[in-house]
């Protein structure tokens, strides 16, 4: 069962759905009786104004096809900034793209993966791999801006060699169905940050799923995912951390926190820790709540109107995650996107 297989074979029965444990909150199967026809080749999509001032090399895909040269290996010692845009440009069609990226030793990479829907009713799938060699550092920011009636399933499998460093922030905005799944296998001494800011409103659905497997001694992972869900939207967080046998001395932390802003919004969370090693430090904290009424009252007594007071608290709630983005330019970009999403939250 995979979205890619369903698209490539044109077989709706191959779509994952409620009966699949990992997909039970993000049911794609019930959406389609038959698969949408394959997306046609697309012209070069327009530039995305969000990235107008970003200093990065751009690699472009539209409707599942590369437009121009692609990059699959980054040579050792390089310091690179890469923007990969995956654009869904045809209404009511489907496409899949696979992308592999190998980062050789002692490389420093900023990777921005932007998934953009500029049509309606599409089904888009991405699966990729990222291999990070020893001593390399990758910071990845994933921006997903789908059409309200689009469907996208995005999966990245990451392999961290000994001593590699990977930091990721996913910025979900929701769609008819939207899922970003990240699976990380961590070698000895590798470091990982796996964050998310998921702002889901209207009738949208957004799912951030992560699997972390610690292998080898002394790895560290730190996860902070914050979700705001409003309107009749549904947000999902599934996070599993496995500390394998022999991964002694692992230090893993997971935090997932959600603000539910309306009675009709829904948040489903499944944090899981599986530990098979010794001398391990694992902690997880998960919370769900609404805005603090006492704090709202306090802010309003200072003259700030209700809507602005709510926005102030919501912005502060997610700001902690955005602040963890190391690259100044990427952080400013995330900040602008989050502010604009929060401004329109309904």
């Amino acid at each position: 069962m995979s979205v890619a297989a369903a698209i490539l074979k044109g077989d709706a029965d191959a779509l994952p759905g409620r009966r699949d444990e990992a997909w039970r909150w993000t049911d794609l199967r019930s959406l389609y009786r038959v698969m949408p026809a394959p997306s046609p080749a697309s012209d070069r999509p327009a530039a995305n104004p969000l990235f107008s001032s970003l200093q990065a090399q751009e690699v472009l895909y539209a409707n599942g096809r590369a437009i121009g040269p692609v990059i699959s290996v980054l040579d050792a010692g390089a310091k690179r900034r890469l923007l990969r845009r995956f654009v869904s440009a045809s209404p009511d069609r489907s496409h899949h793209v696979s992308c592999d990226l190998q980062v050789e030793e002692k490389t420093d990479l900023l990777l921005i993966d932007s998934f953009e829907g500029v049509a309606s009713g599409y089904l888009s799938s991405f699966s990729g791999t990222l291999k990070v060699a020893s001593g390399s550092r990758v910071e990845r920011v994933v921006i997903v801006e789908d059409a309200a009636d689009g469907v996208s399933a995005i999966r990245l499998d990451v392999e961290l060699s000994a001593g590699a460093d990977f930091a990721q922030t996913v910025l979900l905005g929701g769609a008819l169905r939207q899922r970003v799944e990240t699976r990380v296998i961590q070698g000895p001494g590798a470091r990982l940050r796996l964050d998310g800011v998921n702002l889901i409103d209207g009738a949208r659905h957004g799912d951030q799923t992560t699997y972390v497997t610690h292998q080898g001694l002394g790895g560290a992972s730190d996860q902070l995912v914050k979700t705001v869900v409003a309107g009749q939207a549904r947000a999902v967080f599934q996070g599993r951390i496995v500390v394998s046998e022999g991964a002694d001395g692992t230090n893993a932390r997971m935090g997932s926190h959600a603000l539910v802003l309306s009675d009709r919004a829904e948040y489903d969370a499944k944090p899981e820790l599986e530990i098979y090693a010794d001398d391990v430090q694992c902690a997880h904290g998960n919370s769900v709540g609404s805005l603090d009424e006492d704090a709202l009252f306090y802010i309003r007594t200072r003259g700030v109107p209700d809507a602005a007071a709510r926005a102030m608290l919501t912005t502060a709630f997610v700001g902690e995650v955005v602040a963890r983005i190391g690259d100044d330019e990427a952080r400013a970009l995330a900040d602008a996107l989050v502010s604009s999403r929060l401004g329109g939250l309904r």
């Binding site: 704090a295 009252f297 309003r300 007594t301 200072r302 003259g303 700030v304 109107p305």
Partner: protein
């Protein structure tokens, strides 16, 4: 200035204020004293417009304008400032950003232009210096990691910047040691003006050694049961609240 007439307020099904009358003329400082459970905090929350404090009867006006129909932010824009007994921590919102947002929201509500960053910083630096506050602290989340005394100073700093017409101090002395109390009281005294009224709500007399009231009112059983000059506070300090009867509301 502030005029409260026959105010009846309940919280849930419990009546707390039962016909409270209070008039604070422009430029005067009035103290409200009373035993625990008399309704002191209910009065301050009702004047500030907190949800859940239901006015069953009576009126509250500021310069003739009905306060009770306004939301908390509108009351603030009209010039009401409540200094909280327990100021809230707002993680992720730097104190500076918070105060500037508040000031600009009030200015906007009054049809005034927003204040620019340089002018605002000048204002805050002066206010912080007056209250012996470390300016760098204001870059942190509002009240996050502040001591009790620092939080109270932060309240007064906001009052200095926002320049309210009516300042309500709810148990401002609670949790303060004597040095912090003096600094806070100095800050409050600096705000005394012929154009500004104050309502000082306190259980103990000691705050009134530092902020001298023009009038003192005793609140018991949800209404003002006695009013007098500053000497009334001293009398209460000596004799306690016993003569007004036992508390009747938690």
């Amino acid at each position: 200035m502030l005029s409260v007439r026959n105010l009846h307020v309940s919280v849930g099904d419990t009546p707390i204020l039962k016909g409270l009358d209070l008039h604070v003329p422009k430029g005067e400082v009035h103290a409200i004293m009373g035993p625990n459970g008399a309704g002191k905090s209910t009065l301050s929350y009702t004047l500030a417009g907190r949800d859940g404090y239901v006015v069953d009867q009576g009126s509250a006006t500021l310069d003739g304008e009905d306060l009770l129909v306004l939301g908390p932010d509108q009351r603030a824009a009209k010039g009401i400032f409540l200094s909280f007994q327990y100021p809230l921590e707002i993680p992720g919102v730097p104190a500076l950003t918070f105060v500037r947002s508040a000031l600009n929201a009030q200015r906007k509500a009054r049809g005034q232009e927003e204040i620019g960053a340089p002018d605002f910083l000048k204002l805050v630096r002066a206010a912080a210096a007056g209250l012996k506050m470390d300016f760098e602290m204001l870059r942190r989340g509002l009240n996050v990691g502040f001591s009790g005394g620092e939080k109270k100073r932060m309240e007064i700093l906001q009052a200095v910047i926002l320049e309210p017409r009516l300042l309500i101090l709810d148990e401002t002395d609670s949790g303060l040691d004597i040095d912090a109390l003096k600094i806070v009281a100095e800050g409050v005294n600096g705000l005394r003006s012929p154009e500004r009224s104050m309502l000082v709500i306190t259980h103990y007399q000691r705050l009134l050694d530092h902020i001298r009231p023009d009038r003192v009112h005793v609140l018991a059983h949800g209404k003002v049961v006695e009013s007098g000059g500053p000497e009334l506070a001293l009398e209460l300090e000596r004799a306690g609240y016993d003569k007004y009867g036992a508390r009747d509301a938690a």
